[in-house]
């Protein structure tokens, strides 16, 4: 390939390739399911491959120095009157999230082939548009553009849960959308206020929505507190942080399998990404002021999510609450403003996407056969479906945080960062090691071990072991779980520059402590 990465708009191509895919799928006759599915998968795979080129193209030129350094930046005037631009570009953090998104998207589309039988065309179109929104969030360097993509994500997810979801899907999807909207509208107000404040200070709209110009601009403290609060609310709902998390179990339980995978794997990361990319660099003083509160809420989320997961009767709810606990590590790692903590938080974002995504796929596999997710009913799957049991066990231990698999390193770095921040914080959250083992092994024992339950026996021939296509969806996630467990440097080195930039933005004294 002789693409001049300097001029080729690779970021835009990646972002809008799924949109092209959605248009193509829309043109395919409704009845031709094979073509619809195949085309959707093809475009998702093409986007994935393109994102790998982005990764490879980024690595040689990456800059580990302080300060934001975006590559492949594309910049066009969009609404010049207010200085709004179409400006996209990536750094290590963006790329990690982009590759996570493109990977999980094709896996999810492949995993939807068999379970989704109604309105397949609309489903695939929704999914591809969803990917556009997610990728757009991760590459936007203009606040207005970011907001547009942020809201674009909502619509297809609203449809995916609301149309292809479970019995109580309307309640769940409306709760999801309204809750998220409340936060994001406040964020819109804050974005506009920021632009106005910038215009008032500089006398020009030029760059008033440009992240690179606004970061480190030094808004006055009161403004920072208010604006950070508005951003933080939007992101906290999305993560979701305690006590804004209750939409998540409902949404997960009602969402179709692939919807859950994307919801847990990518959508939750949007909030964490928003904190790191926008809220911290734009309003460092606000971030400093809110940090104690967010740290406390994160510690609560870690322990609370795990304890509530202990008593869940429903498989999906259990995994949903485990996400609340795991995402608590992410927000904690971000707000202790400490190098290991932030690196661990970002690694945890990737790991949680892979592992929890895989767990939701596995729940989907068994749900397709049982049409039930009640843990108490299912039992003794080990003997009748050994491949499924082994795969399930693998991801359960990845989620438990077994060293050698991906979950461990991210969590331990956050532990270590928290310990350096304050030993008692670490001493509190480290107990999640016990709770996580308890709820996950309890689930595993009830599901896989013991005698075969009457319910499972009643399924007879419906209970088949993993099909090749199901193995194909889980194999890449499993392989990445092992690779990132042994070589977490693949992600840590990629994001090291972003981490230093963010920490330098929040507190310039930290940059010198890290060694620049």
């Amino acid at each position: 390939m002789s693409i001049d990465v300097g001029t080729f708009p690779i970021v835009s191509v990646i972002t809008f390739l799924p949109l092209v895919g959605a248009l193509v799928v829309a043109l395919i006759p409704r009845g031709n399911l094979a073509a619809i599915r195949g085309t959707a998968l093809l475009f998702a795979l093409a986007t994935w491959v393109a994102s790998l080129f982005l990764l490879l193209g980024y690595l040689p030129g990456r800059d580990l120095g302080p300060g934001m350094s975006f590559q492949f930046v594309e910049q066009l005037d969009w609404i010049p009157l207010f200085g709004i631009q179409y400006k996209v570009g990536v750094d290590g953090l963006s790329i990690a999230m982009v590759v996570l998104t493109t990977t999980l998207t094709w896996v999810s589309i492949l995993a939807s082939f068999s379970p989704i039988k109604e309105r397949v065309k609309e489903y695939m179109v929704s999914f591809l548009i969803l990917e556009v929104g997610m990728l757009g969030v991760f590459v936007s360097l203009d606040l207005f553009l970011f907001y547009i993509f942020w809201e674009v994500v909502l619509v297809p997810m609203y449809l995916i849960i609301g149309i292809w979801g479970g019995a109580n899907r309307i309640y769940a999807t409306i709760k999801f959308v309204l809750y998220t909207l409340v936060g994001s509208l406040l964020m819109l107000v804050a974005i506009l206020a920021t632009a106005f404040a910038y215009q008032a200070a500089t006398g020009s709209w030029d760059g008033a929505f440009d992240l690179e110009r606004l970061a480190g601009f030094g808004f006055d403290r009161t403004f920072q507190l208010l604006a950070f609060g508005a951003f933080a609310l939007a992101f906290a709902i999305k993560v979701p942080m305690f006590p804004f998390h209750t939409w998540l179990p409902d949404a997960h339980v009602e969402a179709p399998t692939a919807g859950s995978v994307i919801l847990a794997g990518v959508l939750l990361k949007l909030g964490a990404y928003g904190f790191i990319r926008f809220a911290l660099p734009l309003f460092p003083e606000g971030a400093q002021a809110f940090a104690p509160l967010i740290i406390v809420l994160s510690v609560i989320a870690i322990i609370y999510g795990a304890i509530v997961a202990l008593v869940q009767p429903d498989l999906k709810k259990l995994v949903a609450y485990s996400s609340v606990s795991h995402m608590g590590f992410v927000t904690l790692g971000i707000f202790i403003f400490q190098e290991q903590g932030l690196q661990g938080a970002i690694l945890q974002m990737v790991n949680h996407g892979l592992i929890t995504g895989a767990l939701f796929l596995l729940v989907g596999v068994i749900y397709e056969r049982t049409h039930d997710r009640t843990i108490a009913k299912i039992g003794g799957l080990g003997a009748p479906v050994p491949v499924y049991a082994a795969t399930f066990g693998f991801f359960v231990f990845a989620s438990v945080g077994l060293p050698g698999l991906a979950g461990f390193v991210g969590e331990f770095l956050v532990f270590q960062g928290a310990f350096a921040f304050n030993p008692w914080t670490a001493a509190t959250i480290v107990f999640v090691m016990i709770f996580a083992a308890a709820y996950l092994l309890w689930m595993q024992q009830r599901l896989l071990f013991g005698p075969v339950s009457d319910f499972v026996r009643g399924l007879g021939n419906h209970l088949t072991d993993m099909k090749p296509v199901e193995i194909l969806t889980l194999a890449p996630l499993g392989a990445l779980t092992v690779v990132l467990g042994l070589f977490p440097g693949l992600v840590l080195d990629l994001v090291a520059g972003s981490v230093k930039a963010v920490l330098a933005a929040v507190d310039p004294s930290l940059a010198t402590a890290i060694g620049h």
Partner: protein, 674 residues
């Protein structure tokens, strides 16, 4: 409290790497070390993916790879013990595991004399248990899985003793926990096996919480996780921090080595197949805690107060477990409590500063307890998967190889000279006394009597006296196990007899203590600077006599009660004991019910803990989510209320417009008037 992170580290690391040039040929030996690990790992991966298809002969690849791993390990062991790797051992770095700024962890392997001693135990017993399992698991359809797990365990355990950074050891620590979980729950359709596996993992995690915090504290206060570099740095820290590190690391040891109060998982772990009990839950994994404290001896020796805690927990576990072993009737459970008790001895030795004695007992116990467990497996097979000793009796003629090898093992554990256990146990008791820990010595002697008693009770109930009804029922079908099972028994009997004399002589400056001098020497000098030379015809000789007498008393008492008299009298004796007085009844019931620890844990963590968790979930649904839904409902109701305004009548709207205009005009006038 904490030292500044980075600046202190760089010179330290340099000092360690420059310490001493390696002898010629050391590099070649070191290149073998990764293979010791890689072979069983390859066996695990291969068997996990292809074992089911291979079927009957799936044991071949794992067995051969473990034998090869043993052979390589022996080469490395010989080199390490003869100075081929330098006085303080040598290591190699494999790759950078975690590059997170100043938090930089490399995966490296390190071999010194202590590691060599552990390698002997782990690879030798590991190999013999693999061989034994070929026969023991011959009829189990899932045995490919069994051998895959065994190989995974071998890899993890070898990584644990070879790892050169705290985090690598922690990783191996968790991986042995995983293999233990998989093997305890090997017969997973049995609910009790699944529950025991889960219990083992979770209870271990309680200890791991402390261990993990200890590792974090080490990094924060020294800036390195390299074990050897951290020792030098920790020596410069204040006592409070060192004590905290030592106690936290000890928490991990308490979990893995099943010491009070985390001892509850080990007896349940007997749900696993017997070769697993022998390898993991007697001879190797449960020793990991002992190894860890011994490895960290430069830290512990700085804080004698913490060492007293170690000694106290150890000797208390020793007597607690021995007291429970008195009344258990499941042959494997007696051995499990015996293991707890012997591990307690080892911790007592560590606590009094007799590090070499602890490792001595670790090695000796590994062989004779491995033998006893494998022997019990042979017995269980002979009587058709019966584990209750009340259903055995008089078996010694029917399974002579099993009997005689177990006889040797029992003599060894009871501390009868000149078998292995005599030397190692005597060294622990003797050094406790000479180092001034008289209370450890006194309790230790009592435990020695108890050990001899419950072990000979086991022998008596199993092999001697009249056969029970169950045994008589299948008397003609009872036969000795196949050679793959009896050969390991015989091979393990050899070190059970000879290891003590080989490593434990001459008294006072044994071969083993010379081997381990580079590892423990500095600490032992620091703790006991004015140590008296060994006096066979003085106090030390008297102590030996006391130990031997203790063993003999236990032996004679047990054989008198449970030997030739048979079992008919046993029930009557129990009735007599429980009826005799309130105290004896209490002691008997306490022992029989394992002093109610399981019941207490059930109450605290399942009943109370479950209620608390359920309460928090209620809070989540009703309060947290209730608030969200309440706000939503409020909005809907407000919307419904406001809808009434839209009446559709033009007059109403006109009124609204008029009022609006008036308000606006009024506001404008008010503001303008200012």
């Amino acid at each position: 409290m904490f030292h500044p992170l980075v600046p202190s580290v760089a010179p330290l690391l340099a000092a360690v790497t420059e310490a001493e040039p390696l002898p010629a040929g050391a590099a070649d030996i070191l290149n073998l070390v990764p293979l010791i690990l890689a072979l069983p790992l390859a066996g695990f991966v291969f068997t996990a993916f292809f074992g089911r298809r291979i079927g009957r002969f799936a044991f071949l690849v794992p067995l051969l790879l473990v034998v090869a791993s043993w052979a390589l390990a022996m080469v490395v062991v010989v080199a390490a013990l003869t100075g081929g790797l330098g006085e303080h051992g040598a290591g190699i770095t494999l790759w950078t595991w975690i590059p997170a700024g100043a938090f930089h962890v490399e995966v490296g392997l390190y071999v010194d004399q202590l590691t060599a001693c552990l390698l002997i135990v782990v690879t030798t017993i590991g190999m013999l248990v693999h061989l034994y399992s070929v026969g023991y698991m011959a009829h189990d359809p899932g045995r490919w899985r069994f051998f895959a797990y065994l190989n995974l365990f071998m890899f993890s355990m070898l990584l644990l003793v070879l790892g050169d950074s705290w985090l690598t050891v922690f990783a191996a620590w968790e991986l042995v926990g995983l293999s233990s979980y998989l093997l305890i729950g090997f017969w997973y359709p049995r609910r009790s096996a699944a529950l025991a596996a889960k219990k083992a993992f979770i209870v271990n995690r309680v200890g791991d919480v402390g261990f993990a915090l200890g590792i974090m504290l080490i990094w924060v206060s020294t800036g390195t996780l390299d074990i050897r570099a951290s020792f030098t740095a920790i020596a410069g820290l204040d006592t409070t921090t060192v004590a905290a590190i030592a106690l936290l690391v000890f928490c991990g040891a308490v979990g893995k080595s099943a010491q009070f109060p985390l001892h509850v998982w080990l007896p349940d772990a007997m749900e696993g197949p017997t070769p697993v009990s022998a390898l993991i839950h007697a001879a190797t994994m449960v020793n990991a805690g002992v190894y860890l404290v011994a490895r960290a001896n430069p830290i512990f020796s700085l804080v004698p107060g913490v060492m007293v805690v170690v000694a106290a927990i150890g000797i208390f576990t020793a007597i607690l477990a021995a007291s429970i072993a008195f009344t258990q009737t499941d042959i494997k459970r007696v051995l499990a409590y015996s293991t707890l008790s012997q591990l307690g001895y080892m911790f007592a030795a560590l606590g009094v500063g007799a590090y070499a004695a602890a490792i001595f007992h670790l090695m000796a116990h590994g062989f004779f307890k491995g033998l006893l467990f494998l022997g019990s497996g042979s017995v269980i097979h002979a009587v058709h998967e019966e584990q209750d000793m009340n259903n055995m009796g008089g078996l010694w003629r029917k399974i002579p190889v099993t009997h005689w090898t177990m006889f040797v093992g029992t003599l060894a554990i009871a501390g009868i000279p000149p078998l292995a256990g005599f030397f190692s146990k005597d060294e622990i008791l003797g050094e406790s006394f000479t180092f001034g820990f008289y209370w450890v010595w006194a309790i230790g002697v009592v435990v020695a009597v108890m050990t001899a008693f419950y072990m000979w009770r086991l022998m008596g109930k199993t092999f001697y006296g009249q056969p029970s009804e169950h045994a008589r029922g299948l008397w003609d079908r009872i036969h000795e196990s196949t050679w793959t099972m009896t050969l390991p028994l015989v091979l393990l009997a050899i070190p059970s007899i000879g290891l003590g004399a080989a490593l434990g002589l001459p008294f006072g400056s044994s071969t083993l203590s010379h081997w381990l001098e580079p590892v423990f020497g500095a600490s032992e000098t620091l703790l006991h600077p004015d140590r008296e030379p060994f006096a066979l015809f003085g106090i030390d000789g008297v102590l030996i006599l006391v130990s031997v007498t203790a063993a003999a008393v236990g032996l004679v008492a047990a054989l008198a009660l449970f030997g030739a008299f048979g079992r008919s009298g046993a029930r009557a004796r129990v009735a007599a004991i429980t009826a005799s007085s309130g105290l004896t009844r209490f002691l008997y019931r306490g022992s029989l019910n394992k002093w109610w620890f399981d019941d207490l844990n059930h109450l605290l963590f399942i009943v109370v803990g479950g209620r608390v968790a359920a309460g928090i979930w209620w809070f989540d649904r009703v309060i947290v989510d209730g608030t969200v839904n309440g706000v939503g409902r409020l909005t809907i109701d407000a919307g419904r209320g406001l809808r009434r305004i839209q009446t559709g009548r033009v007059q109403n709207y006109a009124l609204g417009i008029a009022i609006g205009l008036l308000v606006m005009a009024g506001s404008y006038l008010l503001i303008a008037a200012r």
